[in-house]
């Protein structure tokens, strides 16, 4: 039961039971074993759907952070027959929390950029838990300009708890690196599709998130502050993160209702970590569909729509 989330435990128990019943049925098939397998299969299916439907925002945050969840490069591996990673910001270094490069997305040449997390200590040391430094944002911008120059659509895969809050990051102006991307992405003369595939952590997420289409995977989240950070301020303790997650309206459904995202990409039952290859198919198709729609637009229309999309965000009265 390693890596299982609390609410997944009954499901995993049932799946083990089902596997065992199938094994017995294969060894010595009978009417009894066949009935048992069918019954368990049905129960498993119902439970899976129930869990999916009734997940709380906090449970979705946990799925979004699941260590087995497919990360950016997992999707690239599944979707792209070719990926030529390009390194460095040309000034300070290469940020491994933000890989980027040319890729063939299904059958389309694109530039892909995104945050990359690690699964173990060694990987996380390299990837800095998906928290990029200024170099990452500047590399992303350099390569997005390259994509613009050669007419390649840009696919941005967002998955970060936030930009890195460190001394070096501050000294090298992490705030400006993000701000610069917000302004410059608004002027990119090529289609940009952003998908939050896991965690959409605040400015660190938005720093590669100014796009013509902003999509969310079903269990991803996008928020101005982490539920823990919000809980620490409001309830003076991180243990209230579940309430904070609900209050922040950070789930795909809530964001869709607020008009912040353009679509939700489905995940396999139980979450993308139950079948990364299936999740990759949905992601591939969702992005291709968005690119196909955007490519029909003349560039000035594309740019104007991108501007108006962000211009419209906000709720207030005028009286």
């Amino acid at each position: 039961m390693k890596n299982a989330l609390d609410f997944e435990v009954p499901l995993i128990k049932l799946r083990d039971e089902l596997d065992e019943a199938r094994r017995r049925h294969q060894l010595s098939p009978s009417n009894n074993t066949a009935t048992l397998v069918a019954e368990l299969e049905s129960r498993f299916h119902v439970m899976q759907q129930d869990i999916n439907r009734n997940l709380s925002p906090w449970e979705r945050v946990q799925i979004a952070r699941h260590v087995k969840r497919p990360f950016m490069l997992d999707y690239v591996k599944h979707i792209c027959p070719e990926f030529i990673e390009l390194h460095g910001d040309r000034h300070i270094g290469d940020d491994h929390a933000m890989p980027a490069g040319f890729a063939i997305w299904g059958d389309r040449k694109v530039l892909v950029v995104g945050h990359q997390k690690g699964r173990d200590t060694k990987e996380n040391l390299l990837r800095n838990f998906g928290s990029a430094h200024p170099e990452g944002y500047r590399k992303a911008m350099r390569l997005m300009r390259l994509a613009e120059k050669f007419g390649l659509p840009i696919v941005s895969l967002i998955d970060t708890p936030g930009a890195y809050p460190g001394v070096g990051a501050e000294e090298r102006n992490i705030a400006e690196a993000i701000a610069f991307n917000l302004r410059e992405m608004m002027t990119l003369r090529t289609p940009v599709v952003a998908v939050v595939i896991g965690e959409g952590g605040s400015g660190g997420a938005l720093g590669i998130g100014i796009a013509d289409r902003v999509l969310l995977l079903e269990n991803a989240y996008y928020s101005v502050i982490s539920p823990e950070g919000c809980a620490a301020i409001l309830w003076k303790h991180r243990q209230h993160a579940p309430e904070a997650a609900a209050a922040l309206k950070l789930s795909a459904q809530d964001l869709s209702q607020l008009g912040i995202i353009d679509g939700i990409i489905p995940e396999p039952a139980g979450g993308a970590h139950h079948s990364p290859s299936e999740a990759a198919i949905y992601l591939k198709e969702g992005v291709l569909k968005a690119i196909a729609e955007l490519e029909k637009l003349p560039i000035p229309t594309l740019l104007d729509q991108r501007y108006q999309k962000f211009r419209a965000y906000g709720q207030f009265t005028n009286s």
């Binding site: 001394v167 917000l182 400015g203 938005l206 922040l248 607020l258 211009r311 207030f316």
Partner: protein
């Protein structure tokens, strides 16, 4: 790991204590007792040591604009509670009551040494100068007006960052304001960003660091993540003067530090290079 922790007013204890009480105000820097009227006359700068107290948005306008030129814009924009966040409506009302302002930014048209400009001035007293929908909208409208009228825009920042109570909508104000600045820049019109105490989080990571010229008041705190978060994350001692204007200047992140009494003339001098005709 926190995304970036928003500071509360409590965290800025040092600055909270310097709010004037009655006729005398004690300078938190040199300890001198200052007569309130003398302090106001000196633009809220300590007459003894030069410490810059926080300034309200109306006081700032008075210190910058040619007499009688400032005309406020969009004063009727009001915050709503898009997420149904508990206590938010009451919080906004209490801050309006406390400050006499409608929101955490004051915007309008004015003239500085006869140069017409669009101004946006944040006020830290109002919910820590945090940026929600109204703050983002007012700043965007000021930028767009400047673009349309071929004028310069000047933003004085003072903010704890994006406003938590409006969730993702607050985050998106970063994209909105930065987008407006992209168009303003493409029109080859000037934007001067002035950082005042404190400028942090989502405001630093959007319009505040996008100035053609970036100025700061002496001693002000400027950063993306809060110093405490940086310390907790890195388990390292912070360098001396970390996240101060002086630190920023030393690292090449801003153009000049300008004392308050010189701000008006400095802005005008810069604008004479940055505007045609």
């Amino acid at each position: 790991m926190p995304i970036f922790k928003k500071r509360t007013v409590d965290d800025l204890g040092e600055k909270k204590r310097d709010m004037p009480e009655g006729l005398w105000t004690k300078c938190p820097s040199c300890g001198e007792s200052l007569y309130e009227q003398a302090l106001v006359k000196n633009l809220r700068v300590c007459t003894h040591c030069g410490y810059h107290f926080t300034m309200s948005a109306p006081e700032r306008v008075a210190s910058l604009c040619d007499d009688g030129t400032f005309v406020e814009m969009d004063a009727t924009l009001n915050s709503v509670n898009p997420l149904g966040f508990k206590g938010y409506v009451e919080k906004v009302a209490a801050n309006q009551e406390k400050t006499g302002l409608g929101e955490a930014v004051l915007t309008g048209r004015g003239a500085i040494e006869s140069i017409p400009v669009l101004l946006a001035i944040m006020d830290f007293r109002f919910l820590g100068g945090s940026m929600g929908s109204v703050v983002g909208e007012k700043i965007t409208r000021a930028i767009e007006a400047a673009t349309a009228e071929g004028k310069a825009v000047i933003v004085f920042s003072s903010s704890g960052g994006a406003r938590m109570h409006e969730g993702i909508l607050s985050l998106m104000q970063m994209g909105k304001t930065s987008g407006a600045l992209a168009r303003h820049s493409e029109a080859r019109l000037p934007f001067i960003s002035v950082l005042t105490h404190p400028t942090t989080g989502g405001v630093t990571a959007s319009f505040a660091t996008l100035g053609d010229v970036i100025l700061a008041e002496p001693g002000c705190m400027i950063g993306f993540a809060g110093a405490r978060v940086v310390k907790e994350t890195t388990h390292a001692d912070l360098p001396k003067g970390f996240q101060t204007a002086e630190f920023m200047l030393q690292h090449g992140l801003l153009d000049r530090i300008v004392v308050r009494k010189d701000m008006r003339t400095t802005l005008a001098a810069l604008l004479r290079y940055m505007t045609r005709g």
